[in-house]
């Protein structure tokens, strides 16, 4: 497997800028040709709730932003299953956003096998 940058997004959308900061970092890295993988972990899993209504607080929908990642050649999006379960969410991979829900062992492998990691 070739070297990749892993961007870990751990915060819920909107109330801090972390989610958007992670998104923009991923775009910039992919733009210069780095292989980028994204992991949503901890409160970051709230970003892939499809029914977000960001317009109610005049922000831009994070779910839709994530859906645009393949346009920027970022295809590898992972979501930590333990984080989903702990929060009682019912997030499945049948919406517009394509991602892999992975268990704790695979999350660890994803981190260990990366060349560089940034956590937001």
């Amino acid at each position: 497997m070739s070297a990749y940058l892993l961007i870990i997004s751990t915060q819920a959308p909107y109330h801090s800028s972390a989610a958007i900061d992670a998104f923009e970092a991923a775009l910039a890295a992919s733009n210069v040709g780095l292989q980028v993988k994204i992991l949503l972990e901890d409160d970051g899993v709230y970003q892939c709730v499809e029914s977000q209504q960001a317009e109610s607080i005049f922000h831009k929908n994070t779910y839709k932003k994530l859906c645009s990642l393949p346009l920027y050649d970022i295809e590898d999006i992972y979501v930590d299953k333990a984080s989903i379960d702990f929060r009682g969410l019912r997030i499945t991979n049948d919406g517009k956003l394509s991602y892999s829900i992975i268990n704790q062992d695979d999350v660890l492998l994803l981190k260990r096998a990366s060349q560089q990691i940034l956590v937001f």
């Binding site: 959308p13 709730v49 499809e50 029914s51 977000q52 109610s56 607080i57």
Partner: protein, 95 residues
Amino acid sequence: MLIQVMCNKLDQVTAYIDDESIHFVLLQNGVYLLPRLLTLVSPHRIKVLDVDWRAAGLDAQFNDHPAINNKHVNYISHTQWVVLCAEHTPVMTLQ
């Protein structure tokens, strides 16, 4: 006493669940606490800022949650939030 909860940290609020005189208003990341807080605290002690709840999009996620589904949750407007803050003393904020 009113506690403005802006964070999704259950351990920050557990000290207050047994005191029936304490009320909670959930906003920002605090709205994510709602499903778990409802298992510990009677719904009448919890208010949720409506616009922040809708931004999170959790209605569809928890539509089979007993309290959320049965409309026992008090979703409030900015105006109702101000009224709450005027009513209670002191108002403490958890970020």
